[in-house]
Symmetry: C2
Subunit: 398 residues, 2 copies
């Protein structure tokens, strides 16, 4: 039997509807904040991708040879393609505010519950060093999570400059503090060849770092907007974020009701320079789409819809098909999502069962009596209630 590949997923209507709904909400907010959409190809030259994410990530790239013997690779994230775009189309007006919502592919170990194909939702501002850009991103993120329905979301904030002069591998251990606790972090640091004293001293110095100038400015803007420190935003001096390319303020979103981070981002003023030859400042955020969907489900933030169809119009008998077609047409013209039952010889009972299984809320039944009087029988499949109404009332009711 034919199957999906490990780490890849089909989305049948119930899931696809929920995903689309979340995407639409996010797009709406992105556009409200002045971000415009772009799209990039799924495939890039391997050279564009390799060496940009770090050694570990390079191993997860899907790299192939095409029929023209070109080395090509599947999109791994949306930041590197964005950097390529900035270098390829130098006349793009900056600051350039773009959002991008496309799948990415990573050859992850699926035993860790990771997917090999997932959607990324990114917003980025290219070409502004101004703290207002960092503020805009944080403001958008907090607004978005509230609009989606999250109640206990906060954004953890740090300045990557706080780690100046410290080796990346040590930073990675310090970053784990909230997850694994102080003792384990120190153990890791010792394994990475620090002496116990040094490890303790390093961790303490990071934990006690005072706010950088940029963070102070950002926090002032956030407070002026009405956000509350330690409720909406929190200074977390051990926060490092995985990727090596961050250069300034970084952030991560968490919700008290959900165990893992729901997205993150920060300032990366040097990455685009790898493509353009000259540095162009940039700041961005990636929404963890799959985790947000999982959190939405576990917190019931969106109602589940099995179908977008609101009404099934049944067929009473073959001489009444015309009537049923008229009604379904009338409903559609009035912006109601409506189906006509598509096997005209099936009994009414089977037609109702179809609506029930598909999760369609209303069923319209038109027998000869109703057709004569120009009314319909409307059955609510959830309550079981049934009533005779005119077509106009039908529109108003649904």
């Amino acid at each position: 039997m034919y199957q999906t590949l490990k780490g890849f997923r089909d989305f049948l209507p119930e899931k696809a509807i929920k995903r689309t709904e979340l995407i639409n909400k996010l797009k709406n907010i992105f556009e409200q904040f002045g971000f415009d959409p772009i799209e990039t190809p799924a495939l890039e030259y391997a050279d564009t991708l390799l060496g940009k994410y770090g050694e570990e990530a390079d191993k997860l790239l899907y790299i192939f040879e095409d029929k023209g013997k070109r080395k090509i690779g599947l999109r791994y994230d949306q930041t590197v393609p964005l950097a390529r775009i900035i270098s390829q189309y130098q006349n793009i007006t900056k600051p350039f505010k773009r959002y991008q919502i496309q799948p990415v592919w990573r050859a992850e170990n699926t035993q860790k519950g990771r997917y090999r194909e997932f959607i990324q939702c990114d917003i980025d501002i290219i070409g502004s060093l101004d703290i207002l850009s960092d503020f805009e991103i944080v403001d958008l993120v907090l607004t978005a999570f509230k609009k989606i329905g999250f109640k206990k979301t906060k954004i953890l904030i740090n300045d990557r400059k706080n780690f100046y002069g410290i080796n990346n591998s040590l930073i990675a251990s310090i970053d784990k503090l909230p997850k694994i606790g102080e003792e384990k972090v120190i153990e890791e640091l010792i394994k990475k060849s620090l002496k116990k004293e040094e490890a303790k001293k390093l961790l303490n110095s990071i934990k006690n770092k005072s706010l950088s100038e940029d963070i102070k400015k950002l926090f002032n803007l956030l407070k002026e907007k009405g956000y509350k420190e330690n409720v909406d935003f929190v200074y977390q001096p051990t926060l490092a974020r995985g990727l090596d390319y961050y250069t300034g303020i970084i952030y991560e979103v968490v919700d008290e009701d959900y165990p893992t981070s729901l997205g993150g981002g920060g300032r990366y003023d040097n990455l685009i320079g790898l493509f353009t030859g000259k540095n162009i400042p940039a700041v961005g955020f990636a929404f963890g789409f799959d985790r947000i969907i999982e959190a939405i489900e576990s917190l019931s933030l969106l109602k589940t819809q099995k179908t977008k169809t609101q009404v099934l119009v049944t067929i009473f008998s073959s001489d009444l098909i015309k009537k049923s077609l008229e009604i379904v047409n009338f409903l559609r013209k009035n912006n109601i999502n409506a189906e006509i039952y598509l096997n005209q010889n099936d009994k009414l009972e089977k037609q109702l069962k179809y609506a029930d299984k598909k999760g369609i809320e209303y069923v319209v039944i038109v027998g000869p009596e109703e057709a004569k009087k120009n009314v319909v029988n409307l059955k609510n499949m959830i309550t079981g209630e049934q009533r005779l109404i005119s077509l106009i009332s039908l529109i108003n009711l649904i």
Copy 2:
């Protein structure tokens, strides 16, 4: 310099906005007609894809080996993944009406102006032999093209059964009749080893085929709905459509104002059987997304938008940043897409230039006088007109 691969495209805001707008229109109509969305992975087992499209198409598949030595391939169309879905999730309620809008990849010869990555927009009904399904598809297609703004769209219709007993290669030549004319078709048939007399006789017999029973039923339904024969729909007995899997009524959409077909589809009652072991009837249509976009552009059916941002709020001076932030926030809360200028030290002139280059229609300017009186200067960047108005009037105006 880093570039996109041949046959692959970036879509910057102006194009991405137009594409999204078309997708939203199509989705809206699909859902009105009772179709629900699904998504399938970009990568499938190569075995799922190979041998389903015909020999020529198999050569265009992107087939690779992944790190687990699996032979995998990129999605080539959305019909085969749909067939896989029907076989993998046997409890899906049928008739199953789904739409799918995702990219597909084909290693086409780019010199022919073909893309290697493009979006497909498909609707299909699985599990209904009823002529009502064929009618629903045709009705939806005609409705959709009208809603998009096309004025001279017609759907060419034929029954693939008309070609019963004729070799596929000969059918392919007959299909070309409207493009290359009778003489050339006969030449081709002769090259394919028919005698001149035989070729003429074959072509004539096809040209004069009378309506099949199914086409008669379909045309009656279309006429009852108010569609006009030879205006909205046309019988074209030589129409064959490329793919081998069609078994019944087939169709193709053309518009008098545009040279190539804008989409096509038909009934394919045997394809799903290749996956499930038992035949399940199916009918569907694929909108030629890229061609529709091209036609929309050449016929100016959608207005061009360089940005979704409606208003740029400028920053008059650093002590008035707070005021500008308040205004941009107020606009967003009222569902107006608004940006704040993101380099607070730039002169007003530069800020206006930015709005102009980006194509933002309105600019808000708040100097110390305006801030005191709680009004703003609103400049229309198209007309150049500028006026003082209150914040409430601002909302109403935009």
